[in-house]
Symmetry: C2
Subunit: 161 residues, 2 copies
DNA sequence: AATGAAATCGACCAGCA
DNA sequence: TGCTGGTCGATTTCATT
């Protein structure tokens, strides 16, 4: 994976499309080269399917951490939520009921970036404390929520009889 | 969203492709109808981009819970992990360091299915106890890990100088 | 390994039954 | 809804660097 591959994958994430033409507009990489690159990325297992899901291990984002945030936040500052989402590596962020107020899940390339993540989060004014948990192994990391359901369950849930 | 839409979305998740031809093979819905349906689903916001990311709220999976599992598991039974993944609704599952052994994230259609999720999890032999946290609001639910990074960070992390 | 050109194939849209 | 035909983009192949 070199600079061009990174640019491609980043463009796919940002644009939400795998269209070679659109990717060419964004990256100025020639269309035929985009094909060539994407093929290689698929064959090497970095890209998993037609929907361009990334293999986090293969792509090098193999450190996953769960961070619980205790905050002085009371639902007033919309800016605060924005600030959390600006921290690099934050893939998911939930405002929760119970003891801790936020839970953040981040996928990072190495320990160094973990340090930076925690630092960035603790630097936020409203954040009182953080509590990090390292993930030892990922059993499933799915963005396709329907995957985990049986068709029958979906049908009975989402259609009127 | 009727039965056909559900079948389509489920097929997209399972097959990992949005190819109308492939979807036709799987679902027997005519190709032109697949176009028609997918267009409608995009316009109504259920599908968010060319990569067929679902809007969980729109699709009706608007209840998110984080479940921490304490277990008697010591890395021996591969079957145990399988069992966790068979529970409907489990989108992500991590084996973690620290107090609790597993963390599961599930996206569900209603409280009833939450009940069933917890029941299913607690029914597993190795599971000693569960601790659930409801998500009040989702700030970000991203499956595209590169989204949260600046291009510059990715380049400096993943390319040798 | 990367690119461009040419040819083919599938995706998509419009209009009609 | 579903079908048909035409247009356009996506993809493959091949020749060139």
């Amino acid at each position: 994976m070199d600079e061009r591959d990174i640019r491609l994958l980043k463009a796919i994430s940002d644009l939400g499309t795998g269209s070679p033409e659109r990717l060419n507009e964004e990256t100025d990489i020639p269309v035929s080269t985009i094909h060539y690159r994407l093929n290689n990325l698929q064959e090497s297992g970095i890209i998993q399917n037609d929907l361009y899901d990334l293999d986090l291990e293969e792509v090098g984002l193999d450190v996953t951490v769960l961070v619980q945030l205790s905050t002085d936040y009371h639902g007033t500052h919309h800016d605060f939520e924005e600030t959390i989402l600006e921290v690099e590596g934050v893939s998911q962020a939930y405002f929760t009921m119970g003891q801790t107020d936020f839970v953040v899940i981040a996928h990072l390339p190495d320990r160094e970036l973990v340090e930076r993540l925690i630092t960035d989060l603790e630097r936020i004014d409203e954040v009182r404390s953080t509590n990090s948990t390292f993930v030892v192994s990922t059993l499933r990391h799915s963005t396709r929520a329907f995957e985990s359901y049986e068709l029958e369950t979906l049908l009975s849930e989402f259609t009127a009889e």
